[in-house]
Symmetry: C2
Subunit: 326 residues, 2 copies
């Protein structure tokens, strides 16, 4: 999909938890939480408040009082964080689900709606919370289960981008909608390995459709493959004759200061949303990055599907974000 009218990311806002702010995003987020409960009584309410904060702050920064449409989703059952946040904003709302790929799906749809003239502006937002995700997908935190070394740590954070045809900011020039890819991985603690094939396929499809070489981009940024998954995606692309070793990185691999508890790095919809919305857009506005291919990745499993012995279907969407030549 090519966007002729150059929809732009005119503002973004992010919020992240204390563990995350000890790492890369700490210097760039709009709100660094000291308490990951965000003064709320449940993890789910804290997650919702982060998402709502990031949406409101991104609109404020764009000097807008509302938007034509909000495109949002999250990891919780029935995407309650997004729906309840949408209720508070009163913005016309399209709920999406793409697990951790939500941020690229949201940016793609926001681009389509604004580029096609169906909306003046559109907000794409998502987030996640370690504790709400952990107790929904894995075990009650109180159990204190040991985590295997191939596991990742769900990022407590949220990010929101306002996309508009008017205004200033990096352009979304084109994008590629991914297919569901399933290489038969059924280890729910090894999401990076499960998602890497989906990421490599959509990157290959994107480069093929646009006729671009991997070197065209300053950075090919995957969502939350983590350290292991990031290595796998580089190898898979290398096998296909595409070398992304010089310019590939991964939000999950970047987000934490040290890989100890969190082993392979960060994951969750809030991982790519907070890293892209803070650090990456900051580097783009400073001109240190000019062409970024943002490929958030999602694992589309549920506890029921895994319980019924299914493998993990995965998806990734590619969004090309480029500074206009000055």
């Amino acid at each position: 999909m090519f966007f002729k009218n150059k929809p732009k990311i005119i503002s973004s806002a992010t919020v992240a938890g204390p563990k995350e702010c000890a790492g890369l995003v700490g210097r760039y987020v709009d709100y660094a939480l000291e308490d990951d409960m965000f003064s709320e009584s449940t993890f789910e309410r804290a997650e919702r408040k982060m998402l709502l904060y990031s949406i409101r702050r991104s609109l404020e920064k764009a000097e807008l009082k509302g938007a034509d449409v909000l495109i949002s989703g999250d990891l919780l059952n029935q995407i309650i964080s997004a729906s309840f946040a949408a209720r508070e904003t009163g913005i016309p709302y399209l709920g999406i689900y793409g697990a951790c790929s939500t941020m690229s799906e949201g940016l793609l749809l926001a681009s389509v709606l604004t580029d096609g003239g169906y909306a003046k502006n559109a907000v794409a937002a998502t987030g996640s919370h370690f504790s709400s995700a952990e107790r929904q997908y894995r075990y009650p935190l109180e159990l204190g289960c040991t985590r295997p070394p191939q596991s990742q740590w769900t990022v407590t954070g949220a990010g929101s981008c306002v996309v508009s045809r008017e205004g200033k900011g990096p352009c979304i020039t084109c994008g590629t909608v991914g297919r569901v890819v399933d290489y038969g991985v059924s280890d729910v603690n090894n999401m990076g390995a499960a998602m890497a094939p989906a990421a490599s396929k959509v990157i290959l499809a994107h480069l093929h459709d646009t006729g671009r070489k991997p070197g065209y981009y300053d950075l090919i940024l995957t969502g939350d493959l983590g350290i292991l998954g990031s290595r796998i995606v580089k190898d898979l692309l290398w096998e296909k004759g595409t070398d992304v070793f010089p310019n590939h990185d991964d939000c999950g691999a970047m987000v934490y200061a040290r890989a100890e508890d969190e082993f392979q790095g960060g994951s969750g919809a809030g991982c790519s949303a907070s890293v892209f919305g803070s650090y990456i857009l900051h580097e783009m506005s400073a001109g240190r990055l000019n062409k970024v291919l943002f490929v958030a990745t999602g694992a589309l499993l549920s506890t029921v599907s895994s319980g019924q012995g299914e493998t993990i279907p995965c998806i990734a969407h590619a969004v090309a974000v480029e500074n206009e030549p000055s």
Copy 2:
């Protein structure tokens, strides 16, 4: 949102369970199930198979081997029916979540993508299964809980529409994205009452934005408000000076032959999908209906949000489907 290039619903396919086929849709569906397990071992697999069948059959009827994009979602946690069905088709996939409003959200996005030239054709599909929904949202079926009289019955069925700029079929001329509306209803057995305000608001917004009178449409069709909810939406609109008594009906109120077990009628994403995709499109192709406003409605709760004492946020999107004047 107005669609200048007249995207058309060039084909549709539906499948429904035995209880549903005893009612309205029995004569119109592509596949009437004799066994609601669809020869599968779990309810979830049966639901997925129905959805996959309807997607494949709608492509077959449109004489297509694939499509540019599939937009789908369902009621299960992490929309596993849609994601696993997408894996089988291999079509580029955008997951959405709008609970029972999924069919109108899907048709709106399919219209945007095809009208704007981002895709040649797009498939919008959804479905639900009584037994998988019941055990996820309410109680294990084996408990044999008594159902209160204001409750509805989740439809076992699925529907898929192929939208394209080329070809023949009723046009999607315009649509209105809804806001999340919450009137404070917290009774999870009274979805009709919870969703009616969202439906009435989006109908009013649609009529206001388009300058159309309610009588413009042969039928204003809500998704799954049921008998009680359908009465509420008519009253709410009447209070605002909009009379839809002559031309309003509701898929949930129409779907079952008799309201006994199912009390207020049908619900679920498969309700509006199977009724719209079979009976309504059949009546449109026969010329007995020419202008239909399709307003599927969704209740955006989860068991966690209800358990934490939250009320039910609801949404509805309006899609105008019109035969071209001959």
